[in-house]
């Protein structure tokens, strides 16, 4: 079993890493063409300018880029809010889905606008096909495109060039990057057994003569972009554990590939735009190292059998199967749980609430760091924040003015970066503290003791990381949960996009100097170590006390 597990993990993660290299090259070509005004690129740029109107025609400074991004995201939110609020009156509703509650609509619109896809509803129970496609699937494209656009702008700024134009970038990311890949993945999913129909639920009469309604729908199209855009919101309530959303071992591999391929390629795209591929290679290696440690932890801890059966005449020779599907094999569940939380995807291939205590901690660590590949575009942006802080600390230690790619990093930039990083901790720990101490949280738990605390901690972690997975036992469709997590998701989405753009705006107002032997090189092992240490100290240690109250306490009390 061990050999198969290792082979499986290496194949999925390593194979995807290999494919991310050419995709990164393609994404550079699509997002940042060398000469955007001639040839094919020129034709595309003119078409996109025609769509965007006069504002799409000129370069934007960081403030204009930000305003454009916020305006577009505001439209995304409002349109989806309207579609969800009116779904009972709109077409494509074969199963007659009814009106949704107000705070749930707010939460859902915020969740999909912020690329989180936290779901306080169950898709096949509550939403019409139109809500799923025109509301949610649309946001799965354009919210992911927002992240890729922001990364392209950041990279251009660091390369010493104008940031570009958001209205063009978001179209490039939607039409040239996400759309073609999603189409291919969707078709492969159909071949693997995922439905793609506009007919309503099928009504079966089972062999024992009972009626069974089998929900289906335009699932394949939805699942493809849900995975590729680090969105993660499932068509069905239990997400990719659902046998129609993820029918086989092979679709499971395809969907895991789709989780990490674009976040990985974003690192290469960043390197190509900045013109520093070796630097990207070092960042990629650091991210890969973190992901490997988390996978090892999750697979190891999940190989322990279900503790609740320890005293019963039930075989203890396989790992914990609660919340898992047989067709994915023993490693599919824990591997998915790491990939989906290391990126900001948040789809699930096994029920995270039913993971063994310490394997349930690994996804939380992934979301606390939120940059070891991270969300499409924004993962690399989060890593940029760690880099800024890391080079600053290193500069202080060696007594030189800290620099990054020739830009002088000073107090202002570091303040911005630290504010964005610490806001993450504040949202998670502050929110958890409030809900753990009040009936808002305590009355909604599905499990008692430390595992109940973990449910609250996980929910805020997932919201702040724009992840969207959950310890789904939590009864989270309440007004306090909907409002609190909705607000956290929006703030946690836009603060870490706006502040890095501000940092680049501030950096590029300075004179860029040539990198000298006196500054910390960004292409070697010293930099990698420094970066990893910064991530551990800021990202992980902030949350260690909370981890001891939840998963670690549960492990020590119950597991033997």
């Amino acid at each position: 079993m061990l050999i198969q597990s290792i082979l499986f993990v290496v194949l999925v993660v390593g194979g995807t890493a290999l494919i991310s290299w050419p995709l990164g090259r393609y994404m550079k070509w699509a997002m940042d063409p060398a000469d955007p005004s001639s040839g094919i690129a020129g034709w595309k740029t003119r078409a996109m300018r025609a769509v965007g109107g006069p504002l799409a025609a000129q370069d934007q400074n960081w403030k204009h880029y930000m305003v454009a991004m916020l305006a577009f995201n505001g439209v995304m939110f409002v349109v989806t809010y309207g579609l969800l609020a009116l779904q009972q009156h709109l077409p494509l509703n074969p199963d007659g889905k009814a009106v949704l509650e107000g705070s749930l609509i707010f939460n859902t619109a915020a969740s999909f606008t912020s690329n989180t896809n936290l779901q306080h509803y169950s898709g096949e129970v509550s939403l019409s096909y139109l809500s799923q496609l025109a509301g949610l699937m649309w946001l799965q494209f354009v919210s992911a495109a927002t992240g890729i656009a922001a990364l392209a702008a950041l990279a251009r700024g660091l390369a010493g060039r104008p940031l570009g134009n958001f209205f063009i970038d978001v179209q490039r990311a939607s039409f040239l990057v996400l759309l073609p890949i999603a189409f291919v993945v969707a078709i492969l999913l159909v071949l693997g057994g995922t439905p793609m129909t506009f007919d309503g639920a099928a009504i079966a009469t089972t062999l024992e003569g009972v009626q069974q309604a089998i929900a289906r729908g335009p699932v394949a199209a939805f699942v493809a972009i849900k995975q590729l855009g680090t969105n993660g919101g499932g068509f069905f309530g239990p997400n990719s554990t659902h046998p129609l959303e993820n029918p086989s071992f092979w679709t499971n591999i395809l969907e895991m590939f789709a989780i990490i391929i674009i976040p990985m390629a974003c690192v290469w795209m960043f390197g190509r735009i900045v013109g520093r591929m070796r630097h990207s290679g070092v960042i990629f290696a650091v991210m890969l190292a973190f992901i490997a440690v988390k996978i090892t932890g999750a697979v190891y801890f999940e190989s322990a059998p279900t503790q609740a059966f320890a005293e019963l005449p039930i075989e203890q020779n396989v790992g914990n199967l609660e919340g898992k599907e047989m067709r994915f094999g023993p490693t599919g569940g824990p591997l998915w749980s790491i990939l989906t939380t290391s990126t900001s995807n948040g789809s699930v291939g096994s029920m995270h609430d039913s993971l063994n205590p310490m394997s349930g901690l690994m996804p939380m660590i992934g979301m606390w760091l939120n940059s070891t590949f991270g969300g499409v575009g924004v993962g690399m942006i989060n890593m940029f924040l760690y880099i800024v802080v890391g080079v600053f600390i290193a500069g202080m230690m060696i007594g030189r003015t800290p620099e990054y790619l020739g830009w002088r990093v000073e107090a202002r930039e570091v303040k911005f970066a630290l504010f964005a990083l610490l806001a993450h901790g504040l949202f998670i720990l502050g929110g958890t503290a409030i809900f753990a101490a009040t009936p808002w949280g305590a009355d909604t738990l599905n499990n008692v003791g430390p595992h109940g605390f973990s449910e609250i901690l996980y929910e805020f972690t997932s919201s702040a990381a724009n992840n969207g997975s959950g310890f789904e036992g939590l009864g989270d469709n309440t007004v306090p949960w909907n409002l609190a997590t909705g607000i956290v998701m929006l703030l946690a989405r836009f603060i870490p996009i706006i502040l890095p753009l501000a940092i680049v705006g501030s950096l590029s107002a300075k004179r860029r100097s040539a990198e000298s032997s006196g500054t910390l090189g960004v292409e070697g092992g010293v930099f990698a170590t420094m970066l990893a240490a910064t991530i551990v100290v800021i990202g992980a240690l902030t949350f260690f006390p909370a981890a001891t109250l939840g998963p670690i306490a549960e492990h020590l009390i119950y597991m033997n």
Partner: protein, 183 residues
């Protein structure tokens, strides 16, 4: 204000291409090349009535059928879900006790774990090969058929879901039960 106008234009364009065009194109290709899976992998009887989906577990309680894994949602194909209980939860132990009783498992003949642990969506169509063999005696007796013959049917139905990447072999419960009914 101008930003808002540009945003609305792009919203309309992306809605048209990434939703309307994309969904229609995927649907058209799917229905053309793989209508069976595109419509939910439904199994129909000779007279055309829908028996179920190959990929979705259905409830089996009679002794002459193989039983699937437990479902936290009672095999509701229109409202799937897991137990979301911690593997340390006493509720999981209580459920385990009930199931042990139903199967009559003993320390000398322990129950395969997948028959006691609820699946993620509550609709897992598969059980392990061991879990099918475990039930063979009951099914053979209820059907008055030879146990060895039943076990060879199980072995023929079992498969490795990931080929060389998985050692475990699993069986599709509904398909196996259909084979029995058609004997």
């Amino acid at each position: 204000m101008q930003s808002l106008l540009a945003s609305i234009r792009i919203a309309a364009a992306t809605m048209l291409i990434c939703v309307a065009f994309y969904a229609t194109a995927v649907w058209a290709v799917a229905q053309a090349i793989s209508p069976d899976t595109a419509n939910g992998s439904l199994i129909t009887s000779k007279d055309g009535a829908i028996i179920g989906s190959r990929q979705v577990a259905q409830a089996f309680t009679r002794p002459e059928y193989f039983w699937p894994r437990p479902s936290a949602v009672d095999y509701d194909g229109a409202g799937a879900g897991g137990s979301n209980l911690s593997p340390t939860s006493s509720k999981v132990t209580d459920r385990g006790k009930e199931i042990v009783e139903r199967y009559g498992a003993t320390p000398a003949n322990p129950l395969p774990a997948d028959l006691a642990a609820a699946s993620g969506a509550g609709l897992d169509p598969h059980i392990s090969e061991a879990a099918a063999v475990y039930q063979a005696a009951r099914v053979a007796e209820a059907r008055g058929m030879d146990k060895a013959r039943l076990e060879s049917l199980i072995r023929r139905a079992a498969f490795s879901p990931g080929g060389f990447l998985t050692k475990e072999r699993i069986v599709n419960v509904l398909e196996l039960n259909l084979v029995l009914d058609r004997l």
